[in-house]
Amino acid sequence: MEPILVAKNLSKKYGKVVALDDANLELYPGEVLGVIGDNGAGKSTLIKVLCGAVIPDSGEILLDGKQVSFTSPIEARTLGIETVYQNLALSPALSITDNMFLGREIRQKGFMGKFLRFLDKKAMAEEARKRLSELGLLTIQNINQLVETLSGGQRQGVAVARATSFGTKVVIMDEPTAALGVKESRRVLELIGEVRARGIPIILISHNMPHVFEVADRIHIHRLGTRLCVIDPKKYEMSDAVAFMTGAKEPPAN
């Protein structure tokens, strides 16, 4: 099987600090790839390069086998790489529907939409409801509820629904459970399962080992700015992963 997203030999320096040193990454269709690493290992730089927030000094990114380059998250998004940011990038004072379609609104047909540029609120609400129920988030009763009235987990749900709604090829999730309690974290892990079940591969960055080991199909371990190894969570213990991450143990040869 061909990987859907490939990062090859990415390098990035901030002054004398080497954040990425010839780093590689492959994401295969339909999988959840966990990305773990110690603080300062360069995993957030890696993710920022993949989502367009940071431009690498060298290296290339292939999406569906074609080389791509982007200079902003918006460009990455138009190519089908969606990111659910740790802070979710939602507008709390806007409704769920408004948030899901922010920057990609549906306009009314005919004169009203073309010349007066009126929004098709009905179509947007319907679509939003459909997306949320596909992800099993139907319990959000009112689609026109303001996002700030939602709980942390619900907001995560809205952000994920938005990320998976527009012809998405890859979803990057940055620390999706970091701000959540135990129960809400569980819902979000299930949400990740739902997204994968719909065939959209996910890159999951998390500090939470149990969460990564529970949902990831493969785990990419990042160390000193590059990929140390990729392990199968069924074959290794969490303590092994931590040992690889910190350099206490030699990684397996891939």
Binding site: P73, I74, R77, T83, Y85, N87, L88, A89, L90, S91, P92, A93, L94, D98, N99, L102, G103, R104, E105, R107, L116, R117, F118, L119, K121, S133, E134, G136, L137, L138, T139, I140, L146, E148, T149, L150, S151, G153, Q154, G157, V182, K183, E184, R186, R187, E190, G193, E194, R196, A197, R198, P210, F213, E214, V215, P233, K234, M238
Partner: protein
């Protein structure tokens, strides 16, 4: 739906589990509860979702209150319609100001911008003999250009809107003095050369209620902006930028370009206000509306729009302007000194911002 859940539970079974004992995977496994709510919390939530309710209540209470205090004179059709006439200019400025404040900005230059546009219109048509309509067009362009200039300074130089417009307020005011040489353009000259400038000041009597055309235009502007803000993507983006600029950027909104366009639209509204102001005042005076900047901010704040951006309604600002008008009128009919009007207004501003702060706490 069922099929998907089945797939997932199958998928999840294949996963190693470390926390199976946490959480309950029953049919309610996707519900997220909201906490218990007290009555006060409910009120807070309600006001939070309906920020215009507060100014509406204040407006109704103040009209009733002044009806008692000031008596029938206050309640007369003539006086009530006079209030609407009196708030026309501040109302239009407040409409423009609302757009800026919704983006978490502030515009101290709106009134100076308006006077500058009216000076261009007056100078061109009265003193240079250019036909009225092209002169009006130049005035509109002046408004859009000065507004966009503010927007460009805010976005390109990354300066706080407060500082930018504090600067441009003085710049625009200086330009007004430069172009007019501190001389007013007389009402009689305008009437003789460009009577169209007085159009919005003309009155119409509807069963005792006397309205200027300008008052209708003001209401028209509010309705237009309401549609713009609530029914178009542009309007939703105004809110998104004020709410969380970074999030808006990440959602794909070109925030800098949007901000410049918001300032430019505000400038256009201000320029329309300039035309109306010539009708209302009769002449073009370089020193008029000196307090218009702060009055417009007062109306917006009393109207329930948050100075922190992203929250508020355009119609609230209309109510805010009307509240200010009702207070001024009511207190003066009641025979109170002007100082008490200022005093009351000051209290209103502080109460309005206090309520806003309290309502905003809801999201935490």
């Amino acid at each position: 739906m069922n099929k998907i859940s089945d797939d997932i539970s199958k998928d999840l079974k294949d996963q190693p589990k470390f926390t199976t004992d946490i959480g309950n995977k029953d049919q309610d496994h996707h519900s997220f509860e909201l906490g218990e709510q007290t009555t006060l919390k409910k009120i807070q939530h309600f006001l939070h979702g309906n920020p215009t309710i507060v100014p509406v209540i204040i407006l109704i209470l103040s009209v009733i209150g002044f009806g008692f205090i000031a008596g029938g004179k206050f309640f007369s059709a003539f006086n009530l319609s006079l209030i609407v006439q009196q708030v026309t200019i501040v109302g239009i400025l407040a409409a423009a100001q609302t757009l800026i404040i919704l983006t978490a900005g502030i515009d101290l230059s709106v009134a100076a911008m308006m006077v500058l546009a009216s000076v261009f219109m007056g100078k061109l048509s009265v003193e240079m003999g250019i036909p009225t309509l092209p002169a009006i067009l130049v005035g509109m362009i002046s408004g859009v250009a000065t507004g966009a200039f503010n927007g460009l300074l805010v976005t390109r130089l990354r300066l706080p809107p407060f500082i930018v417009t504090l600067g441009t307020w003085n710049i625009f005011f200086a330009l007004v003095i430069f172009f007019t040489g501190s001389q007013s353009i007389r009402s009689s000259d305008i009437e003789a050369n460009a009577p169209l400038f007085h159009f919005w000041g003309e009155r119409i009597n509807l069963g005792g209620f006397v309205f200027t055309y300008g008052a209708f235009l003001m209401i028209g502007i509010f309705i237009f902006l309401w549609f713009l803000l609530n029914r178009t993507a542009w309007g939703r983006h105004v809110y998104a930028i004020g709410d969380d600029k970074e999030a808006a950027e990440l959602s794909g909104i070109r925030t800098d370009r949007m901000l410049v366009s918001i300032y430019a639209v505000a400038g256009l509204v201000v320029a329309i206000g300039a035309w109306v102001s010539i009708g209302r005042v009769g002449s073009v005076s370089p020193t008029s509306f000196y307090e218009g900047n702060l009055d417009s901010i007062t109306a917006v704040v009393i109207g329930g729009t948050s100075l922190f951006g992203g929250r508020g309604t355009i119609i609230g600002s209309l109510f805010g302007a009307l509240i200010v008008g009702v207070f001024s009128s009511g207190l003066s009919i009641a025979g109170l000194d002007v100082l008490w009007q200022r005093f009351a207004l000051g209290c209103l501003i502080i109460i309005a911002v206090g309520i806003d702060q309290w309502i905003r706490k809801v999201s935490n």
